[in-house]
């Protein structure tokens, strides 16, 4: 009984904090999503389900939602493909000073503002920008790359922004794998690929899952990167939601779209949880 009181008193500040910073704003948005108009000034507002209905009435909302999920999946996949080998090398092949220096390089981009990072990408990618100029200098006659304002440009910017999450979470779980385990496998004749896929990947799965979740969720709602790098191709559900809040002042619809997105994200995560559990 005493122990329970101790646990409660230790946990309660964290829960109080969560209630204040997450639950309250979120419930305010939930409240908005059922209103017919923004309750500011002398407007008449009433309860309605219309905002949720709009999503199902107009096909383009779900098309854009699908497009955002596709973007989330692709960015996560690229981050995994690039980040996992990087984390493996950092943990098992590199040591000492080099490791520290490499870690610094990975974390360094985090010290700059996300907006600044994306703006620098626009300078690199745009017509006659840094990338096009250097490639044409090295290989004259390559001509324009036409990367700016395309889907690949958005992918590039997002993968660059979110890669450190994947490297760091994978590194932590790979580093926890006992080297003797790998030596034992090797001594019993397991090949490199067998060790990778039967030992390291399953044992590093918590890190992979954590990294994927950390990347997948924010990328689905991203709006700044698609706007700046995507041009005409930069419309996603995130930019549509942003439009509702800043450009057209339809907070109820923006809130409803956000909650639909949140519900779908939860469904995707639930769908993946049995796979994760089986590996454990």
């Amino acid at each position: 009984m005493n122990q329970r009181a101790a646990v409660l008193s230790l946990i309660s500040p964290a829960y109080l904090w969560l209630t204040l910073t997450i639950l309250l704003p979120l419930s305010a948005m939930l409240y908005y999503s059922f209103l017919s108009d923004v309750p500011i000034g002398n407007r008449e507002v009433s309860w309605t389900l219309e905002n949720y209905g709009t999503f199902f009435e107009k096909a383009f909302y779900s098309e854009l939602m699908l497009r955002s999920f596709k973007l989330g999946a692709e960015v996560t996949a690229f981050c995994l493909l690039l980040g996992f080998p990087c984390a493996l090398a950092l943990s098992k092949s590199i040591g000492g000073r080099t490791k520290e220096a490499l870690f610094l390089l990975i974390i360094l981009p985090f010290w700059s503002n996300a907006l600044v990072r994306i703006f620098s990408w626009t300078m690199v990618l745009r017509g006659n920008g840094i990338l096009e100029y250097s490639i044409n200098w090295l290989l004259p006659g390559t001509g324009p790359l036409g990367l700016m304002f395309t889907y690949p440009a958005i992918l590039l910017g997002l993968v660059h922004s979110y890669l450190p999450y994947m490297i760091l979470t994978c590194y932590i779980s790979i580093d926890a794998i006992d080297n003797q385990l790998l030596e034992a496998a090797r001594s019993m004749g397991a090949g490199k690929l067998t060790i990778l896929f039967r030992l390291i990947v399953p044992l590093a799965l918590p890190g992979i899952v954590a990294g994927s979740v950390l990347i997948f969720i924010p990328v689905i709602g991203s709006f700044m990167e698609p706007r700046l790098l995507g041009g005409r191709n930069g419309t996603f559900i995130g930019t549509i939601i942003e439009d509702q809040f800043t450009a057209v002042f339809n907070w109820p619809l923006g809130a409803a779209l956000s909650f639909i997105m949140m519900g779908l994200v939860l469904l995707v995560l639930l769908g993946f949880s049995p796979i994760v559990r089986r590996f454990k």
Binding site: F60, R232, D243, T246, A247
Partner: protein, 355 residues
Amino acid sequence: MNFRVLLKFVCFQWLIVLILGSSVISAAEIRVLNWQGYGTDEAWALEMFKARTSIEVVHDYFNSEQEMLTKLRTNPGVYDVVLINSAYTGQAAEEGLIEAIETTGMANVGDLSPSMRNDPKLVTDGKTYGVAWVWGVTSFAVDTGDFQQTPDSIEALWDPKNAGRVGWRDDAVEAVQLAAVALGQDINNPSDMNAIRQKLRALKPQIRTFWSSEDEWNQFFSANEFDLATYWSGSASRSKNTFGLPVEFVLPQEGAIGWLDGLSIPTNAPNRNEAKAFINFMIDPDFYVKWDTEVGAPTSANAKAVSMLPADAFNRTALSDSKKVAKVQFMGPMENALREEIVELWQETKAYFQN
């Protein structure tokens, strides 16, 4: 010796009194809400205004009319002066976001063209909710380096020769109204939304990117991201004069979107009198002539100010050509239902634009 120390001490005290005193005197500070780089925030103008009235001016910006209305709704009692496109002045007044302005004592109001000063969009029941400031048109501008001959039709935006070279403002109302101009429809009450939908969809191969602010327009133009783009007449002359860009604004034969911008005072503005002094300064010929000749501006609502411009100024020549101006359709107030339809149409079109 002691006397000199005392003297120093007294001087030092006086210095502190002066510094504190001056900060109290210059404490009058007004907050202006406007588009960025749109006249009210010119550094030289604010210096000129401060020299005349010792009032400091600080700014906050918006990128769309709806954002401006949102800022007024969510920050009551914060702003002293706000720029409102006259198509929205009635709505803002109806919502109680702005208050009627007592214009007696504002010396320059008398010089405004009567038709603009008394425009029914700005004046309701004899009460002035917005002081007419400048007017201009929205159509498009071209890069003179890419166009030997300046096009005279709005169809240039749809011309396959310009595929992938068009910049377009990401704004639902402006997009739909430009399509309405191209189709010869009434911009304030389009008769055939389906035709407009098709016209906008036809832009898919044309548009390279969207822009949202004048600053962004200039950046994209300098980086050669587009050869022609929708634009505002005043901004085009700024891009030409201040930034030295090879920009030519086009007043198409089909007409264009006209707008009249007014300056208003938000309800319960903390510094009402200072705000009135600022608005009066903004319609002063001294400010306008310098703004238009050295920076670039739309056409002033102050007839006296326009007549003081050099004889070859764009705002005296191109826009005083009555034949061309006759085709300009002025933006009027819009019913909420129509606005919502337009917003949804534009978002659906943007979804259609995705590869």
